[in-house]
Every structure is written in structure tokens, then in C-alpha cells.
């Protein structure tokens, strides 16, 4: 099953994703996409690490090129998060065009291996600000990926201050 969890900043998306994977008894992999640059990134990574402690995840760092990630068959995957993966794929590969297709190929690749896949993404398009070109392109690409994954996903959840709001499918836990 594939679940897409979206929502704003610090609204309990990963906590909810972890809860879904708590029900999965096989091998669990956490795909981390945030590059550890700067103090805030380190703090965020540390906070998420503490939250995952004791939940049986093996961490795999994948900053870009998700399609090449080596995954075992029949595993549970928590992919966190598309916002970072999208930024890395667009801005640190030197190949901005085709980023959405590359990420979708990566998602399909992960979905082929994962029995239970939870993807965390972000809502970034609702602050009403017109951004310069690069950022505007990022908002467009991330939103496109979200829409494309939502088509494939069995379940789409929006987290509102920790409350799951079902957009597609039924609440998995």
C-alpha cells in the first residue's frame, strides 16, 4: 500500500507516517532526503532520529537519484521528505529540467520494492507570495509530483496540526 502524507510545517506528518509503519512487521527502511547542512538541519535530523528510535528502522540516505537506491524486496519504507528530494534533484544536480520525471521514476522504483510505502511531502503553495523564478519553479514541480503521486497512492492524508484529514482512501491506522 502507498500512502502520501502532506501538510504544512511541523504539523505531525512524520509522526503519523511512523504510526502507519508501526503496524508493519517486516524490514523497515527510512529514506532520509535532507542533506545535513547547517545547524538547523542537524537539529531537525536529530529530532526525527529521536522520534524514530526503537521503531526498528534502518536509515538510508538518498539525497537525489532515488531510482538507483538499492532496496530489498518486500520492505516497509518511510520516505521523508519530497520537499528536500525535489530541491536536491532540481538545484544540486545541475539538471533542473526533467526533475519531476526523475523523481516519479524513483517513487515507482521504491513502490515496486515496498509492500508498505509512506511518502511525506509538503504543501508549499499556499502563502500567496510570488517568488522569483527558481523558487516558483520549485513550487510548481513539487506540486506536480504531489499530484502525480496522489494518483498512484491508495491513500492520501493531509495533516492539520496533527489531525489527519483524509483526501483519498481510508485512514490506515
Amino acid at each position: 500500500m502507498t500512502t502520501l502524507i502532506t501538510g504544512g510545517s511541523k504539523c505531525g506528518k512524520s509522526r503519523f507516517g511512523e504510526r502507519i509503519l508501526d503496524l508493519y512487521s517486516g524490514q523497515k527502511i527510512y529514506i532520509a532526503t535532507m542533506q545535513p547542512f547547517g545547524e538547523e538541519a542537524h537539529m531537525a535530523i536529530e529530532r526525527h532520529r529521536r522520534q524514530r528510535q526503537g521503531r526498528g528502522f534502518t536509515t538510508m540516505e538518498v539525497y537525489r537519484d532515488l531510482v538507483s537506491a538499492e532496496l530489498p524486496d518486500n520492505c516497509g519504507v518511510l520516505l521523508e521528505c519530497l520537499g528536500n528530494l525535489c530541491a536536491n534533484e532540481m538545484f544540486s544536480t545541475g539538471k533542473m529540467s526533467g526533475a519531476a520525471d526523475r523523481i516519479m521514476d524513483g517513487i515507482k522504483h521504491v513502490a515496486e520494492h515496498a509492500e508498505e510505502l509512506v511518502i511525506i511531502t509538503n504543501q508549499v503553495s499556499s502563502d500567496g507570495i510570488d517568488y522569483p523564478e527558481g523558487t516558483a519553479e520549485y513550487i510548481a514541480v513539487l506540486s506536480e509530483i504531489n499530484r502525480r503521486i496522489a494518483v498512484l497512492a491508495d491513500c492520501v492524508i493531509e495533516c492539520v496540526y496533527g489531525i489527519p484529514v483524509m483526501m483519498k482512501g481510508e485512514l490506515p491506522c
Binding site: 504544512g8 510545517s9 513550487i139 496540526y161
Partner: protein, 124 residues
Amino acid sequence: MILITGGAYQGKRKAAEDIFGEGVWTDCSSCGFDEVYKCGRIYGYHRLIKRLMEAGISPDEFTERLCRENGGAIVVMDEIGCGIVPIDKEERRWREAVGRCGCMIADHSERVMRVVCGISADIK
């Protein structure tokens, strides 16, 4: 506790008054910090979080105490996290604190409503 959230100018207070009747709101853009622990209706709590941070008070600890001591309150606060991560560090810290405190209030609330275009939906 009851939480009413949604974007700015969606009619959150009106939605609350339609259901709970008219009442006096404590406006978080100007009220005294301690008032919030005692009053019945709290408006614009996301703004209070900014003011607390500017005053060097932990919004997480303040919100914990609010949930503990004012469990009967109706809290109106905007959803502010659905945009691009701000460049300014203080803006980022505020946005994240609003997310964390919003989760805390939602967790303590027996009812959570989200208002879009004046229409409220019970999400908890």
C-alpha cells in the same frame, strides 16, 4: 478545549460564533500574556506565539500550561505552515513553533474545526 483553524480571513471567528454563540474574544495581537490562561475565547493564537518569542518566553511551555489550565477555551489560530520555508531565521523559528503548538492544542482539544471560505468542517 476547542480549536478552530484555517487560513487567514476564512471566517473562523464567525464560524465559532455560529456554533457557540457570540462572546468576548481575547485578541492575541494585544492582550496580556497571562489573560490567555483565564479567558474563554482566544483569537489569533499564532500571533501570541510571535509575541512570546520576542519576549524570550518559550511558546511550547506557554502552550503546555495553556492546555493544562484553560482546558475549556475556544482557540482560533491560523494555519500558517503551507508555504516556502522563510529565508529569515526568526520567521522560520516562529513558523515551526506555531506548528508544534498547534499540534499540542489540537491534541488537547475534544473538537477541531477547519474553516475554508466560511465553511467549517469538523476534522476531530
